[in-house]
């Protein structure tokens, strides 16, 4: 019974993973990746780790992939076209490397099967929420706190990078709500007929550059 479930979820995960790589529409790839994550969550449940399964769905499928789908939708990423394959010599290399990988995996499985150490049973205490919680706050406290500082650094870094006034590259997209202005407004030495553009975030930046008083009060209706 467990073997049947394992084959089902593992097959689903592998199928969705192949679909991620083989699909041409990027949104289908994103949805297949969500399928991979949910199948992995089911596999975690079968390995007696319900907390990890729930957190996998919440964090990966529910937050990270939402971000990825947002990006695909906002940037309007197009379908890939079939291109003439120019790297024909790499196909035998790929086959050889895949054969080596499969040989390694088979060797590991055969070796573990033969070893005298018995694996833990499926019912164990390590996967329960209380065990993970107590381990996180006693034995692994330092990595936990440092990881949270790392995440904070990522958030602050993203906000800083997004706030600068910078030139829009040709063919680049602008976040809805930003103001697009000629570069001459920010650097008077640039000629007036230079059509490069700059994105500014907010009317206060624009007012500061143009030297006019900023009396746009966002809490009052225009």
């Amino acid at each position: 019974m467990l073997v049947l479930l394992f084959i089902l979820f593992a097959g689903l995960a592998i199928g969705c993973a192949i679909a991620v790589v083989a699909q041409r529409n990027p949104l289908y790839c994103a949805i297949s990746l969500i399928g991979v994550f949910v199948s992995l969550a089911c596999l975690y449940v079968m390995l007696a780790a319900p907390f990890i399964a729930a957190v996998q769905v919440i964090v990966y499928a529910g937050a990270i992939m939402v971000l990825v789908v947002f990006v695909i939708m906002l940037l309007n990423v197009e379908q890939e076209e079939r291109r003439r394959s120019r790297l024909g010599f790499l196909v035998p290399v790929a086959v050889v490397l895949a054969a080596i990988l499969i040989a390694e995996a088979t060797f590991i499985i055969w070796f573990v099967d033969r070893s005298p150490v018995k694996p833990l049973s499926n019912v164990s205490d390590t996967g329960l929420t209380s065990s993970i919680g107590s381990a996180l706050f006693t034995k692994y406290l330092l990595p936990f706190e440092i990881t949270s500082i790392l995440l904070l650094m990522a958030i602050v870094g993203a906000m800083t990078l997004a706030r600068r006034i910078k030139e829009i590259p040709p063919g680049g997209a602008v976040v809805p709500g930003a103001q697009v202005l000629p570069l001459h407004m920010f650097d008077p030495t640039i000629a007036l007929d230079d059509t490069r553009a700059v994105a500014a975030h907010g009317s206060n930046e624009v007012a500061e550059v143009m030297g006019v008083p900023d009396d746009h009060d966002p809490t009052k209706r225009d």
């Binding site: 949104l27 289908y28 969500i34 319900p50 907390f51 499928a61 939402v66």
Partner: protein, 349 residues
């Protein structure tokens, strides 16, 4: 596979069928109740022609939805267009299995059974995870309709939902700190003493208010329903959906309302605990179970009435006001609630 396992599986299927039917009926009558209650608030009568007082109106609506012409936009992405309402409804229905509808009761011919479909260690996290996946239904619906109003509505709605999911999750941490477990049945059992004064709404008033506001925003209801308001983006993400697919979205929204009300009842209003039922009936008897289930349903209906009441009373937020409120006010207040609760729990134990 012995008879006990087979009986167990059959019982689970029967329980799922009963829960599914009851949920659909309650949701159908919630739609009718909303139309009538909203009408009374607004000084008119609402639908009262079909059946006595309008009681058959949901079935008339269902018949209309089934017989309506199904229009599919030509340039839409077909697979995702069909998948989106499925994801929305599935995520709404999947949370039903963890709620305890009643205590362990003795039902004649079967024995003592707990009145819930499944019981596992991480029930509350499971509910949060499944509602996170429900966001995809709306996002994919908005994008796959190939309509810029739908896309804007879908993006706004999903941005709103993921912002308020944070405040929702954080407001529940106070309850988890008090209860010490993520298992919903244990949380309900912990609220059984002091004749109703141990319900977590009295111990966590701030958490309850934050949860209620975040829940209303999660389900895209007034005052947070800008993404699907009729006067704004036509109909938001479900503009291009007609007949049965629109009915599925509609259903998903009301089932979400129902789910969120059930979670509020379980966590804050004591679930199936009715104040003096234990003294009158004794634990484990059939009458105690029946009173518990009826009490649970009455509390959930109170929350649904609260939703309808708010819809008739409050104007809606503008989208930037909504996002400001969610990130700059509700999230810090939820963190403050966790801090206060943790401090009090440590000081008092």
């Amino acid at each position: 596979m012995d008879w006990a396992t087979i009986l167990d599986i059959v019982l689970k299927f029967v329980a799922i069928t009963i829960a599914f039917t009851v949920v659909l009926l309650i949701v159908a009558y919630t739609v009718l109740a909303e139309r009538r209650v909203l009408a009374f608030i607004q000084g008119r009568l609402g639908p009262n022609r079909v059946g006595y007082g309008g009681m058959l109106q949901p079935f008339a609506d269902l018949l209309k939805f089934i017989l309506k012409e199904d229009i599919v936009p030509d340039k839409s992405t077909r697979f995702i267009y069909f998948l989106a309402p499925v994801i929305a409804t599935m995520a709404a229905l999947m949370t039903m299995i963890v709620y305890p509808f009643g205590p362990e009761t003795y039902i004649p011919f079967i024995g003592t059974i707990p009145l819930s479909i499944a019981r596992f260690d991480v029930a509350l996290l499971y509910v949060l995870g499944v509602t996170s996946v429900g966001v995809y239904g709306i996002m994919l619906a908005g994008w796959s309709s190939n309509n810029k109003y739908s896309l804007m509505g879908g993006l706004r709605s999903s941005a709103q939902m993921i912002s308020y999911e944070l405040a929702l999750g954080l407001s529940l941490i106070g309850v988890i700190l008090l209860a010490g477990t993520l298992d919903l049945q244990k949380i309900v059992e912990m609220q059984s003493s002091w004749h109703g004064f141990r319900w977590f709404i009295f111990l966590q008033p701030l958490g309850f208010v934050i949860y209620l506001i975040a829940a209303i925003a999660e389900t895209n209801r007034v005052p947070f329903d800008l993404p699907e308001a009729e006067t704004e983006l036509v109909a938001g993400f479900h503009t291009e959906y007609s007949a049965m697919k629109f009915a599925l979205f509609f259903l998903a929204e009301y089932i979400n309302m129902f789910t969120v009300s059930m979670l509020a009842t379980t966590l804050f209003l004591g679930g199936w605990n009715v104040p003096f039922a234990e003294d009158l009936f004794g634990r484990g008897t059939f009458l105690f179970g029946l009173v518990g289930v009826i009490g649970f349903l009455l509390k959930v209906i109170f929350f649904l009435f609260l939703y309808i009441w708010l819809r008739g009373t409050l104007p809606r937020f503008r989208f930037d006001q909504l996002m400001n409120f969610g990130w700059k006010f509700l999230l810090p207040v939820a963190l403050l609630n966790i801090f206060l609760t943790a401090t009090l729990v440590i000081l008092l134990t």
